[in-house]
């Protein structure tokens, strides 16, 4: 009877699922029929100019494309020709008016294990959340990543020999109040305001370089290991010394974020940690589940699994040029990405990103969007590219003709158009397509099975035993061309990709088996070089450094990112030259040479650079997208009218 009940319950659940699915679909179809009517009604599509909202309040008078300086001291510092910082300029598509205040509601797919910027793990989520809380030495122009304007620092200079950087900090910048009950006598030691001082930067570097600190510090260490300790000249002036004059030094100077020594060197009762173990104490520091910084928003509360709440920072220093646009920011934790669109429709979110298949099924070609009056769509580029990596240490993939053939057999354009909903561009090299480093004259290889067959034959792969699978004698053993492709687990898109690729490969006599793996398992396999091929993605960054992914010295390091063991003397030469080249034109020439080399060697089968659709309610201004991390910078989002 119990069993019957169980399965009866199961049947009922499934039936319910089917019914709900049907209702959902029926609703969508209903909505579609309204589209025509709405089009006639003149719904706006993102990008078309909006009529200025009547209720706009609190506009500071900032104008698109205009320069803004925070203070007289800024102007003076910017007049110094040695200053590496440039004046801040509002983005060209900055909204005409902003209704400041209200609560911005957005979502995040997963939470970091903690909120210590350096000692907690999982850097992606942390850096996303800290975009709200923190400020850096300089503010990177979101639409022109090469321009950095004064933020915490007024002036940054570089010495003649390139080995010393001097940073002059702004005066009067104050750390946010910690999110604790200050009336509690236990926390009385935290009551006084703490100004930002140069030693907070020295402390951040100490944290990163201290081997006792785990978490994000472990990955940051590789970038900062060559730095000498920061020399504090006075409270508002410090000096960074590096071992070698490299192009990547400057971006790293700007990447260093200050850490409050007055908080993290002490236990909850205000007693300092001793010098031998303070690093270890960071990993379990009492404040690690809370955030602190100098940015436009202040951390209020983290309800685990529910949401993180930030509020306008009353002591924020940069209120003149780009003040906080919202009183509060609520970041809801929503693990089911399929549900984001539903949550947007029910006004639990102000804006959201959409999955490719959802975009395909519900939105593509159905603009203005599905009769949800007031929803607008914007599609933006992402800096990431997707690829299939071939393990060059496996005899199957040692020959570049084979790798080329495998690329030719992969219908990238067809997949992007169908499975990935047209949200992307097929790419041919390891750079962001908008970066000057990307050589647009190098076209991606076409989808051509005949050419692939010919190349494989040229590389000695023939079907000698008539079994339909190519083979070749390798190390005295007849080896059939069979391999396993590791794909992202739980992704319907990648499962479909694998099915399509498998079919195409079978036609040229190559047998591929797909193996979906969880992210952690895949990372382990790639780090240990225990794979034939895998699907992956990189965010190449704006200031190109080829060392991490492509230098042969990284091929043998077990944890390094040169998973495919790419080795090329020419590639090494370019990677090293690029690190020491500062002239933009020469850098571009070097990048282009590298792009050509990579296109010829095909260590990866480059797939596509992704675009992402974003839907938002029309009480928001059309978003200004940052070139690098389009969604991370809350300062670029604003309300056109305050939502009720």
């Amino acid at each position: 009877m119990k069993r019957l009940l169980q399965s009866g319950f199961g049947v009922a659940l499934l039936a319910l699922l089917v019914v709900v699915g049907l209702i959902n679909t029926a609703q969508l179809h209903n909505l579609e029929s309204h589209v025509a009517a709405l089009e006639a009604g003149g719904l706006r599509v993102a990008g078309t100019p909006a009529a200025p909202p009547a209720a706009a309040t609190g506009s500071v008078g900032e104008k698109a494309g205009e320069i803004c300086t925070l203070s007289a001291a800024d102007e003076e510092a910017l007049n110094d020709p040695a200053n590496l910082l440039v004046p801040f300029r509002y983005p060209e598509n900055w909204p005409a008016s902003i209704a400041r205040g209200g609560t911005l509601k957005r979502q995040i797919a997963s939470e970091p294990p903690g909120l210590n910027l350096i000692a907690s793990n999982n850097s992606a989520d942390i850096s996303e959340l800290y975009k709200y809380i923190t400020s850096r030495i300089g503010y990177q122009d979101p639409t022109n990543p090469d321009a950095i304007s004064p933020d915490l620092a007024l002036k940054v200079t570089k010495s003649e020999d390139g080995l010393t950087y001097d940073v002059w900090l702004r005066k009067g910048v104050v750390w946010q109040t910690p999110a604790v009950d200050l009336n509690d006598p236990r926390h009385a030691w935290l009551q006084a305001p703490h100004p930002l001082v140069a030693s907070d930067f020295a402390f951040a570097l100490e944290l990163i370089q201290n081997p006792q600190v785990v978490g994000r510090a472990a990955s940051l260490r590789t970038y900062f290991e060559a730095w000498k300790p920061i020399e504090v000249v006075d409270d508002h002036h410090f000096r960074i010394r590096v071992a070698e004059d490299l192009y990547t030094n400057l971006p790293q100077v700007f990447d260093l974020e200050p850490m409050p020594r007055w908080l993290y060197r002490f236990d909850e009762d205000g007693h300092p940690f001793d010098d031998a173990t303070w690093g270890d104490k960071q990993n379990t520091h009492w404040y690690n589940q809370k955030g602190i910084g100098l940015g436009a928003y202040r951390f209020v509360e983290w309800q685990e699994g529910v949401r993180l709440t930030f509020e306008r920072n009353p002591t924020y220093h940069a209120t003149k040029c780009m003040p906080a646009n919202f009183d509060r920011v609520e970041i809801n934790v929503m693990k089911d990405q399929q549900a984001w669109l539903r949550n947007l429709k029910t006004h639990q979110l102000d804006y959201t990103q959409i999955m490719p298949q959802q975009f395909n099924a519900e939105i593509r070609g159905k603009l203005p969007y599905l009769g949800e009056e007031g929803l607008k769509l914007a599609i933006h580029d992402e800096a990431s590219y997707y690829y299939i990596g071939w393990n060059a240490t496996r005899p199957l993939f040692a020959d570049k003709r084979v790798r080329k053939a495998l690329t030719l057999a992969f219908d990238r354009a067809g997949l992007v158009e169908s499975v990935f909903a047209g949200l992307g561009e097929v790419t041919s090299g390891p750079f962001d397509q908008r970066n000057p480093c990307y050589d647009a004259s190098i076209a991606p290889l076409p989808y051509d099975l005949e050419a692939a067959k010919a190349l494989l034959l040229e590389a000695g792969w023939k079907d000698t035993d008539g079994d339909g699978v190519l083979d070749q004698v390798i190390n005295g053993k007849r080896t059939p061309f069979e391999f396993t492709l590791v794909i992202y687990g739980g992704s319907t898109e990648y499962e479909t990709l694998a099915r399509v690729y498998r079919e195409a490969l079978l036609e040229i006599g190559v047998k591929m088996t797909a193996q979906p793996l969880e992210w952690a398992a895949q990372l382990k396999k790639t780090a240990e070089r225990d794979f034939d091929a895998y699907t992956g993605a990189w965010v190449p960054g704006w200031e190109i450094d080829l060392h991490q992914l492509w230098h042969s010295s990284q091929a043998d390091k077990p944890e390094s990112s040169n998973y495919v063991s790419f080795r090329s003397p020419e590639g090494d030469r370019i990677a090293e030259a690029l690190r020491r080249e500062f002239d933009p034109e020469k850098r571009t020439a070097l990048c282009h040479a590298f792009h050509k080399l990579i296109a010829d060697e095909q260590p990866y089968t480059f797939f596509y650079q992704r675009k992402r659709p974003m839907l938002y309610w029309d009480h928001m201004n059309d978003p200004v997208f940052a070139k690098l991390n389009p969604h991370r910078d809350a300062r670029l989002l604003s309300f056109a009218t305050r939502p009720e």
């Binding site: 069993r3 019957l4 169980q6 399965s7 009866g8 199961g10 049947v11 499934l14 039936a15 699922l17 089917v18 699915g21 049907l22 959902n24 679909t25 029926a26 969508l28 399929q338 999955m355 298949q357 959802q358 395909n360 099924a361 519900e362 219908d411 067809g414 997949l415 158009e417 169908s418 499975v419 079907d463 035993d465 008539g466 079994d467 339909g468 699978v469 687990g489 739980g490 992704s491 319907t492 898109e493 499962e495 479909t496 694998a498 099915r499 399509v500 498998r502 079919e503 079978l506 036609e507 047998k511 088996t513 797909a514 193996q515 979906p516 793996l517 969880e518 398992a521």
Partner: protein
């Protein structure tokens, strides 16, 4: 000439008679049998390999040649069912004739003859299956419809006779992705451009295999544990039952999902074993109860007095009498195993090389396509309902109080 002696009705015959009187259950049994036939014979109706093919190089049969090709049929489930199709069918037909012919034999020798026939069929088929698995047939996995298109375009159309639905569940065509139902594709296509109807029909194989194998595994484990616990009683029973209780305590779906997450290289066989690993406790308790009831009955005492070994008392005397309730729970078990597999595939923890119903359902949710939700949903609903009706009928037939 004398007629064969009419035997007394055996226990099996009584049950069969009772079962046949329950019309719904009887119809369900044929329904399940129908599903089984669909699973076995699907390549005859759905395949992209022509039965006959002549592109000027002589007549060949790619359909037959690829029946056991591990490139065309990636998963062992398909190889298994294809072996039932051929040589399975070829064995069953003459065997059925011999079976019939044996009806004229007197009681004992008829039973012996029929046993031999059944043994021979299963033996030959198993030998073939093992042979196929050990020495995989390899032929060219050319996509014949595409070759045909190419040849036709070149003005030399080949002779090709295809099954009625000339697609394979593995065929992809991104130019035809996510299409609605049409004459060419009855249930439309999915994101990869595969024919959904073909995937649905081949999904029957996955569901039935998972159901039957998982249940076969756990019934075996459960019966053994239950028999030992029930027959010996005392401490053995106490220890075994405590283990059973511990396993029962863990919510099964939760356990299944966490175990599945541990296995990085999941195949459909892992999924069967995982289901079996949590479900064996039910039959263990049933069998134990039956053994406890029967171990002091007269026929057991008689067997003991005659000096039968323990093994033969347990397995030859008591067990056949205790199997009734197990059989009933097995039918329900098949249904719930099918549901569990669908759930796992739906959650992305299934085997991606097989077209399972749960997977199609997940794709439908992803693509927001009603066909992809409705079709597998109904198929699961139908299969599970048929199995449950069958189980209920069997249970009633076995219950002496309900005999009319």
């Amino acid at each position: 000439m004398t007629d064969a002696v009419a035997d007394d009705p055996t226990w099996g015959q009584i049950i069969w008679g009772q079962f046949r009187r329950r019309k719904l259950a009887y119809a369900s049994m044929w329904g399940v049998f129908g599903l089984f036939l669909i699973a076995v014979y699907s390549p005859i109706f759905i395949s992209n390999k022509p039965f006959v093919w002549n592109a000027g190089e002589g007549i060949e049969s790619p359909w037959l040649m690829t029946l056991f090709n591990r490139s065309t049929y990636e998963n062992a489930i398909d190889i298994f069912f294809n072996s039932l199709l051929f040589p399975g069918t070829a064995l069953v037909l003459p065997a059925a004739w011999l079976w019939r012919a044996s009806a004229v034999l007197p009681g004992r020798s008829r039973v012996a003859r029929r046993r031999r026939i059944a043994g021979a069929v299963v033996g030959i088929w198993l030998a073939c299956l093992l042979g196929i698995l050990a020495f995989p047939v390899q032929t060219s996995p050319v996509n014949h419809p595409r070759v045909e298109d190419r040849l036709t375009a070149a003005g030399t159309p080949p002779l090709a006779i295809y099954p009625p639905i000339p697609y394979s569940y593995a065929d992809t065509d991104v130019k035809l992705s996510s299409q609605g139902p049409s004459l060419g594709h009855w249930l439309g296509t999915d994101a990869a451009g595969s024919d959904v109807f073909a995937r649905m029909v081949f999904g029957t194989r996955v569901s039935l295999t998972v159901g039957l194998f998982a249940v076969a595994i756990y019934i075996t484990i459960g019966t053994l544990v239950g028999a030992v616990a029930g027959y010996f009683g005392g401490r053995t029973d106490a220890v075994l039952m405590r283990i059973v209780e511990v396993v029962i305590c863990i919510p099964s779906l939760f356990l299944i999902l966490s175990v599945a997450a541990f296995i990085t290289e999941r195949s459909i066989f892992h999924i069967m074993f995982i289901i079996a690993a949590v479900a064996w406790t039910g039959p263990a308790r049933l069998v134990r109860a039956e053994f406890m009831r029967m171990r002091d009955l007269d026929f057991v005492s008689a067997a003991k007095a005659s000096g039968f070994s323990r093994t033969s008392i347990i397995f030859e005397e008591i067990l056949p009498n205790a199997l009734g309730p197990v059989l009933v729970s097995a039918t329900f078990g098949v249904a719930s195993a099918i549901l569990v597999e669908s759930t796992m595939s739906f959650l992305g923890l299934g085997d991606i090389t097989v077209p399972s119903w749960g997977q199609i359902l997940a794709a439908g949710r992803n693509d927001n396509s009603w066909v992809l939700i409705l079709a597998p949903g109904l198929a699961i609903f139908l299969t599970v309902s048929l199995l449950n009706l069958l189980g209920e009928g069997l249970r009633d037939a076995l219950d002496p109080k309900l005999r009319g």
